[in-house]
Symmetry: C2
């Protein structure tokens, strides 16, 4: 928290730390307003509907007015990425690391499901925004009683982030697509597989298909998706548990 003068401009914008202008007219718009409006548009009509013109009109401004507060659309997307996740949950002080991480993951996924366009944002830099770092801190905090070293904690948290981001990208995207167009999924998928999968070329998949695993049409509904997440995430946490146990035996 030394001198703020040398903070790169994009970082300063994320943290709301640009020095206020001394002269000129009062701004009727802030980068924050723009970010919120863009998120509202994306929530309502998808990321594809987020154009500078659309966001501006939503705010009752002209398109070019936005560029006084945001250098480019890419910068706006970076702002959206940080703002999409609200604050991380308060982890109970007496919680063990496992229930802490589980709570963290559930909240993170819930936030991602509220903003399904998040999975489509390009990732061009390590997390540096205030919200992203708050979530990072929260996850690390859950491991404070684990006895792991700092680099080990980071390793575990990065692995967890990996799993959760995969969930966001795969299952959340599919759920959103399913909600938009249920006919293209559901039982149609199972039937397509039955016709496309040659038992000689893809024997393992064929066995699964023949067993009817893909015949239910509830595969992409929220309840089902949650259960599948908890199953896979628990596998991961079991591995973490083993790791922590091994470390504490040393």
């Amino acid at each position: 928290m030394a001198d703020e003068t040398e903070l790169p401009d994009d970082v300063a914008l994320l943290w709301g730390m640009r020095d206020a202008p001394r002269r000129g007219p009062k701004a009727t718009l802030t980068a924050d307003d723009i970010t919120r409006a863009a998120i509202a548009v994306a929530d309502a009509d998808g990321l594809g509907a987020v154009s500078m013109a659309r966001v501006a009109s939503e705010l009752g401004n002209s398109t070019m007015a936005l560029y006084r507060h945001v250098r480019s659309k890419d910068e706006l997307l970076a702002l959206m990425a940080d703002a999409a996740f609200e604050s991380p949950p308060e982890l109970p002080a007496d919680a063990d690391w496992r229930s802490g991480l589980m709570l963290w993951a559930r909240h993170n996924l819930a936030a991602a499901r509220r903003h399904p366009w998040f999975a489509q944002l390009p990732i061009g830099a390590p997390p540096i925004g205030p919200t992203s770092l708050a979530w990072f801190d929260s996850a690390l905090g859950a491991l404070s009683g684990s006895g792991l070293s700092e680099p080990e904690k980071v390793g575990v948290v990065m692995a967890m982030l990996t799993y959760v981001h995969g969930e966001i990208r795969l299952r959340t995207s599919l759920s959103a697509a399913y909600a938009a167009n249920p006919e293209a999924f559901g039982p149609r998928y199972g039937e397509l597989l039955k016709r496309l999968v040659d038992p000689r070329r893809l024997p393992a998949l064929s066995a699964v298909v023949e067993a009817g695993v893909f015949d239910q049409d509830t595969l992409y509904e929220e309840e089902e998706a949650k259960e599948e997440f908890e199953f896979g995430f628990s596998l991961f946490l079991d591995g973490v548990e083993q790791f922590i146990a091994a470390r504490s035996r040393e």
Copy 2:
């Protein structure tokens, strides 16, 4: 593999199963050529450089000629998504499930690293292309000796896909961005964190930052990324191992 007449058009295209036209001039172009050219453009200059005009000019054709073979750019992207991963690896017949999945994941990641734009493609439907299904089959096949039921195998494979996709999205994207612009990362990241992270508000993250975990500038290089992946993925596999052991005890 029943009658092919009712296959949805996009699926038939993915499988190369459109019925050939009886009359008219010979086509000088195929959907396959277009897909390959588009992938080449994306590999060379990023997904943003993939425009219909660019792909067409790369093939020595006019922009609109592409639309005879591909219904829209979205369809082209779907073709690219399936073709990006070449064939899955041959798993040694005598391999145990764990080394099989590890081999699978390494090959999958290697393919993804060759095509870093893959992480930016929108996911709008469950996997249905021949390559995607071949990889799916390969992963299921690795579990054939595990004693799991078919639905359980699918659960484990989906969880693994989740982890690997997260890796692709997070680490592969970052590595690509780092390769394109190393100055924005490296030690600069550690220093930024030192200035931005308030020990009172983000104590756990602050401890990690002060411990110097982010000070190396090798964080995003390929070797380092591989090691971190293997660590996290092993945690996951440890969990799977426990699950399989518990199942076989019943």
